[in-house]
Amino acid sequence: MKRIIIDREKCDGCLNCNIACISAHEEGSNFYTVNLQSPDAETRNFIKFDAQQGYLPIFCRHCDEPECVLSCMSGALEKDQLTGHVQYDETKCAACYMCVMNCSYGVLKPDKQTRTKLIKCDFCDDKPDGPSCVKSCPKKAIEVKEVSR
């Protein structure tokens, strides 16, 4: 099972992971063409800045005991036992946003435009060359590691 592991110390807040994530979800786009000004542009990862601690990369942990899944009453969020990823099924989502309230890392949010669906890391659909954010991080602050659970 693969997870994105964060090394906070290495992050310099460049936001390349944001661009990569937005691009990964804009069909056919690349770093030159991704439209960051589009209302559809949503990043599934976040970088927070804290005066004491510096940059804090906030990424979905695809938790072992995911609070989001536990709080989801309509079955839209599920932990895939094979990949270990926490997956979201838009068709089942009731837009109650209990998950948003309960995610321990504050990584979830409703979409900006319609506020009817969840914006959540899909691990880039397990693309063979790995998650886009990880490939784009110049500092190697986020890396894919194999974990047991």
Partner: protein, 627 residues
Amino acid sequence: MNSNFSCKTCASADQKLETFISNLSVDTSHHRMEGQSVKCGFGLQGICCRLCSNGPCRITPDGLKGVCGATADTMVARNFLRAVSAGSGCYIHIVENTALMLKKTALSKGVLKGKVALAKLAEIFEIDETDEYICAEKIADLVLADLYKPDYVKMELVEKMAYKPRFDRWKELGILPGGAKSEVFAGVVKTSTNLNSDPVDMYLNCLKLGISTGLYGLTLTNLLNDVMLGEPSIRLAPVGLRVIDTDYINIMITGHQHAMFAYLQDRLIQDDVIEKAKAVGAKGFKLVGCTCVGQDLQLRGEHYKEVFNGHAGNNFTSEAILATGAIDAVLSEFNCTLPGIEPICDEFKIKQICLDEVSKKANAEMKPFVFEEKETQSNEIIDAVIEAYQARRGAVALNMNADHGNDDTLTGVSEGSLKSFLGGTWKPLIDLIVKGEIKGIAGVVGCSSLTAGGHDVLTVNLVKELIAKDILVLSAGCSSGGLENVGLMSPSAASLAGPKLRAVCESLGIPPVLNFGPCLAIGRLELVATELAEAIGVDLPQLPLVLSAPQWLEEQALADGAFGLALGLPLHLGLPPFVTGSPVAVQVFTQDMLSLTGGQLIIDDNAKSAAETLDAIIEKKRQELNI
């Protein structure tokens, strides 16, 4: 491609060079590319601003404007105009130095080798003067007077040099440049914090800088140099790492200012200097060409057969040239002299001397060229190089590559030499175009880079596609350094051309890719285009002529590109010039430019589809001309 898995150098269109570099023990740009492979998305789109301490600001979904309110459109335009201003400044510096050199040469009654160029300039500038020194001085004075005008006083030579329909259009658009140096200044001021925020105004300003850059920095630099150093003439010459001869004391030259070597290159072959070389065990001195000044020397190589051994390679070949161990000194006067050569020079005990204050290398000796002291300076340089030769030869291992390059690159092509080759008239070329034997012309110009597939990869692939479509390619800039080393400028490359172009090339004994030399010679391509347009009686945008800078590298290339667009030509680039974050920029460059100047920007990093697009444009222009 790389077959050696332990090394991670980037690909090169030049297979022999790629192998050579991948086996080197020193670090080169080709090695460093991988470590820099992750790029900043904001930088690529041009939407990062660090003009004030509230920044750096970047355009993100949560921050659609900078703190001050600057939009993506404003940021991109400011960044772009800044880059074009800097690029223009570089070329204007070159033409300023060249004109000063011509003036001093004239005043001191020095050598003026190019009588044809002198007469041509006198005619363009409407100077009626029989004494060639007074004439040369007047030419230099007119150029300098224009360069030093304020930005609110228009330069006078623009109208004399520009093609009439173009001049008229520029006047209508209000983009006739004032003094070229002041225009650079204006571009820098305009783009400072909280000044101009109007993208369209800034792009028009870019066109204005393109005009001053093109007519002065490019075209005039060539012609002024021709007066001092001799006109190009067509010949076959060796190129690549093979040109380095270990029997000689070898000086690699880098930069863009051929005139700075005018005295030295003649001095190096005088008897007393050769004797000095012999005294330390060498046969004499040789200059090895690298970057554009090497291209310039190659272009005028007919006049420098003894001292010049050939052009070894472009900017991203410079580290490899030094790593042969057979170069004893680097004389540099401008870009593109990579910082990456510095540690190699240290390791290989290569003497570095910089001749222009603007391009001091960190570990090099600074010896600003002073015209009045050229004799003593040259002697000092010669002694320093001999000292380096003695200290290093024998102590530094040689790693030659006699197999690299070829012996039959056709060089020396210019607006003048090409026309005389055709019999003193453009008619034969026009006839071939009209008959469709040559479908059109593509100027494949600009730099060499390691992006867009690797070193010269897109350039070479695009050129192969174009010639296969019977499009004649003219090249100027480091692109030609790559194209010549892979053999595309050898007559045998005709076999890679489409059947019609191939037949033309074979009957004339020329390659399908003609080598105009340095990036400065983009100005010569403009002269060719203008003369063709004049002969046919059309404006430039109507010609079946396209430009491409597939692997543009730096700010100067952007100023060149602005010139191309001002001329109204379609301009292809492999990678976007950091503007795609702005919808206005994209609209202006790819659409609106057509109605402004007739030009158009095409971005495509795929050789095949880019060639198809350029081919379609040429076909369309042919149709519009009814040919």
